[in-house]
Symmetry: C2
Subunit: 202 residues, 2 copies
């Protein structure tokens, strides 16, 4: 990693470049990805929003359905709502399920959100569809995972779908193309009593 001379450095970099070129040459498949962001760490939703920003930058239309986080005034909602022709941003549900304390209402909200996701997946206008916190809904059995698998499996070839939230069901991980686990190494909530910070966590 730390060669001593510039000549050694350049020699090593030539080798890495050749290895990279060889690796990239085998990667020729273009396809829409089923992406899952899970784990107990930060970055599951924000990474999906970063990919939304990237997609809009490339002229691709994005659909976002946010489950669970119904009532929070979030920066992502404020920002993305400025571009109604490029991104459709729906928020479903009336907050965390421990706040609503009404399972029937939560289930109805989950169902309504899922219908929006299905509509966006079926609509060729959307290149990327994000189902934010859908894993929470699946975890509470508010929606059968089979129904989610059916819709994502039947998606158009170039359509990207991102599903976020802790505790992704194994069946979804098995079906996914790209799965990342966000692992908490250090969190100021616990160690420093820092509250959720605007711009970072919402």
């Amino acid at each position: 990693m730390k060669p001593r001379t510039d000549a050694e450095h350049n020699e090593r970099m030539k080798k890495i470049q050749a290895a990279q070129a060889k690796k990239i040459a085998t990667k020729t498949v273009e396809k829409g990805l089923l992406i899952v962001h899970t784990g107990n760490g930060k970055g599951k939703s924000s990474s999906a929003f970063g990919m939304a920003a990237r997609s809009i930058g490339h002229g691709m239309k994005v659909g976002i359905v946010q489950f669970v986080k119904g009532t929070i005034d979030t920066g992502e909602k404020r920002f993305f709502d400025r571009f109604p022709d490029e991104i459709e941003f729906k928020r479903m549900g009336e907050g965390f399920t421990w706040d609503t304390q009404d399972r029937a209402r939560d289930i109805a909200a989950a169902r309504a959100g899922w219908e929006e996701v299905k509509r966006m997946i079926a609509d060729p206008a959307y290149a990327l569809v994000i189902a934010d916190e859908l894993n929470i809904v699946l975890r509470y059995d508010y929606l059968p995972v089979e129904e989610v698998l059916e819709a994502v499996t039947a998606r158009a070839e170039m359509k990207h779908v991102i599903i976020t939230g802790r505790n992704a069901p194994q069946a979804l991980i098995d079906a996914a193309d790209l799965v990342t686990e966000m692992t908490e190494v250090k969190h100021p909530f616990r160690t420093q009593n820092v509250r959720a910070q605007k711009g970072i966590e919402f």
Copy 2:
């Protein structure tokens, strides 16, 4: 997790709500966070961009300096460049170090990028500063980690700084408030020969 009746559900949710309220009540500290995204998985940069979107949504000004990824036509650059009053987006370096094969030039680019980051950290106008892929630069010893620690430690109380990239140095992790490791569970590059997809990876 899966109570049988609605009454059981509501009872359980009341308990979770009370526990959440108690936990949140202890979280009263407001502070600018030093955030590190590391690990070999996806989502380190995109999550930082998602936080940039959130911050802009809340009217906070953002500065981004992107190391290493000099020449790629990325969606994030295209998108964020549309808002020059709200975000300053600088790209430094001329690509991956194995492509430039010129250590002196890489070091000069790293230094120039770091000067931009320092300027943004020192400028009260920026609420969030993102040093994207800075860990790579540190890994190659193109910049001493001590200098980075000095600048981030001296930052204003409410300033957020995000540093991304694999192999974050331990000294940086020790100094950080919030550290997430993006862990690769499944990647289509390896398993399906899928190439980097527009909107998702760049």
